[in-house]
Point group: C2
Chain length 330, copies 2
Amino acid sequence: MTLSLKEIAEIAGVSKTTVSMVVNGRGEHYRISAETREHVMRLVEEYGYSPNAQARSLRLRKTQTLGVVVPGLVNRFFAEFAERFDGAARAQGYQVFLTATNDDLPTEIEVVKNLLSRNIDGLVVASADSAGRWTPSNKYLAIPRVYIDRLVARPEASWVVSDDYDGAYRLVDELCRRGAREVYYIGGGPRISTSMDRRRGVQDALQTHRLEQRPEQILERGYDFRDGYAMAQQLHDQHPTPPEALFTGSMTLFEGVLQYLQEQAPLWLEHTRFATFGKQPMLDYLPGSIISAHQDVEKMVEATLELLLRQISGDTEIQQIKIPLKFVFR
Amino acid sequence: MTLSLKEIAEIAGVSKTTVSMVVNGRGEHYRISAETREHVMRLVEEYGYSPNAQARSLRLRKTQTLGVVVPGLVNRFFAEFAERFDGAARAQGYQVFLTATNDDLPTEIEVVKNLLSRNIDGLVVASADSAGRWTPSNKYLAIPRVYIDRLVARPEASWVVSDDYDGAYRLVDELCRRGAREVYYIGGGPRISTSMDRRRGVQDALQTHRLEQRPEQILERGYDFRDGYAMAQQLHDQHPTPPEALFTGSMTLFEGVLQYLQEQAPLWLEHTRFATFGKQPMLDYLPGSIISAHQDVEKMVEATLELLLRQISGDTEIQQIKIPLKFVFR
DNA sequence: CGAAACGACTAAATCCTTTTAGTTTAGGAG
DNA sequence: CTCCTAAACTAAAAGGATTTAGTCGTTTCG
C-alpha cells in the first residue's frame, strides 16, 4: 500500500496543501519554513511517497504522456525511431504510449481514439492512410500532433518526412551511371505518400537518362514481405532473364524479393544491380551489387519532438519538414 | 472541447449517475427505462462523449494500462515481442507503455518508478540486471509483473524465458556433428542470465563431445555490436588462422563479428562454421555456413500475457516458464 | 387496507492532487 | 493601543468519473 498525500499530511500533522507545496517545491507566493519542509520531506522519503499521476493529471489537465503510432516495430526504421524518440521524450519528462497498427486504418483509428481518451499531451503518427479519408474528431484536431515518414493530406498539419523523391531519384541515377539501361520498380501501396514520391523519383530519373519506361516495369502492391515475394514472382514470370537493375521501395520488400530470387532465380542475385530503400547492417556482407538509401532517424526524431513540444507549449504554427536521406553506394 | 459526464447529464436533464449507467451499461441493481437510455445515448453520440480515462481510473483504481520495459527495439527479438504483445494486450483492452532502457540499470529503475506512479496494472520487464542487486519498493513488489527473456533472481517472481541452455547445447552439438573440433565462444555480459545459460550449454556440449576447452576460447563482454566487433578482434589477434567453429550469443554480436571479419579477416567467412542466437532473414543469403537458434516470440507473448492477466485478476501463484527455441540448421 | 417490493431515478461520497482564497499569529509603524 | 503587513499555514473547491445509499411513486400481496 502506498500512502496518499492526505495520509502523509495527517502523519506529519500539517495540511495537504503544505505537503503538496513541499513535494512540488513551487513556492511562488507560499513560503514554508525550513523546519516544516524538512519534517515533511523526511516522512515522504520514509514512506516512499510519490504523487498519484492519475489524480495529478486530472487536476493539471496535463498527463506528461505522448502517443506514438507506427505501422510496425519489426520494421527497423520505426523501431529505431521509436527507441530514440522514447529516450528523447523521457529526457523531457514524457512517458510514451507506443502502438503498432500493422498498417491497418481501422486499427489506427481505434488506437488513436483510445489514446485521446487517455488525454495524451501529443501524438506522433505514421499513418496508414495518407489520403486522410476519415473524419477526425474535434479532439483529434485539437491535439498537438506531428505526422512522420508519411505525410497526410488532410487534416492540414505538421509533419516530418524524408525526401523520398530525391532519394529514389538519386538511387536510380546512380544505377544508370553505373551502366544500367533497364530499371524495374517494386514499390509499396500506391495510397501511401512515400510510395508515390519514390515512384515519381524513379520515373523522373529514368526520364533524365532517356530510358524507356514500359508499364510492366512498375510493380506496386504493399510494403509487406509477402508483397515483395509476390512482385518478384510476377516480374520473374514476365521476364525470365535477369534485368539489369531492380529498385525496391523498402528493406522489407527487398527481403521478400531476395527470398523469391534465392528460391527460384538465383542467377539474378549475381547479375542484377539492386537499389533499395532501408537500412540493414547485413547488406554489406551480401554478394552482388546493392546500393541503398535510408532515413536519417536521429534528425527526424529531433525535429519531430521539437515540433511537438512547440505545439504543446501553445505554438499553433504548422511546420512541414523534409529531411535528406543517407546513401550507401557500395 | 469535449463534454464531461456532468455536462451531458445537464443537457439530458438527468443525473450523472444515470448517464454513467447508460454509458457503462452496468445495470446490476439499477434499471434505466428504454426511453431514458435512448435519450441519453443520442446525446452521447451527438456530442461524441467518451469518458475521461484519468478520472475513470482514479476512481476505479485500474488504468487498463500495462508497462513493457525492454533493453532496445532495434534488437529484432524485442521489437517483435513488443509489437505482438502490444497487439495482444490491446485485444484485451489494455494500452501499452513501451520503453527502451538501452540495457542501463539506472534507466530501468527510473522508468519503472515512473510507470508505477502512473498506476499501471501490470509490468513486463527484460531486466538489465538478472542478479537483482537493487532494492525494489513495496509498490514494485505488489504489482503484477512478469520477467521475460532474462530471468531475475530476486525478487522471486514469474518469468517467461527461452531454454537458452538447451539452445546453446544443441547448436554446439550440431557444429560438432558437422565435424568441428574446436569451438570458440563469444557471448554477452556475464551478469545477464541468458549469457550464463548459453555459456553453460556450450561448455556442456563440448564436454559431451570430449573436446578441449581452453580459457581463451571463451570470450564475454556485452551484447552490443561493438562488443562483438571487439571480441572478434581479440580472438583474431590471439588466433590468426580461421577457427573451425565460432558461436555467438546474439544476432547483434554476430553482426559485430561479421563487420570485423569482413574488414580484417575475410578468410574466416569462408572457412569457419558459425552458430548464433537470433533471427535475421538475411542470414539465408549470406555465403558460408551458419546455423542459428531463435526465440519463439509468439509463444512467449502468449505466455507472458496470460501470466500477467492472471496475476491482475488476483492469482498470486508464481509461474516460471521455459520455452523451447527454434532452430535453423542451414 | 397496510406493508412490502419494485422500478426508475438522484444526492452525495470517494478517488488523489493542485490551487484559490482565506485564517492565524507575531512584529513593526504610528 | 490600534492597525497593517508578512510569514506560515489551512479549508475547501475543482477536476471527471463511479458507486453507495437513498427517495418517491406505483404495484402487489396477504
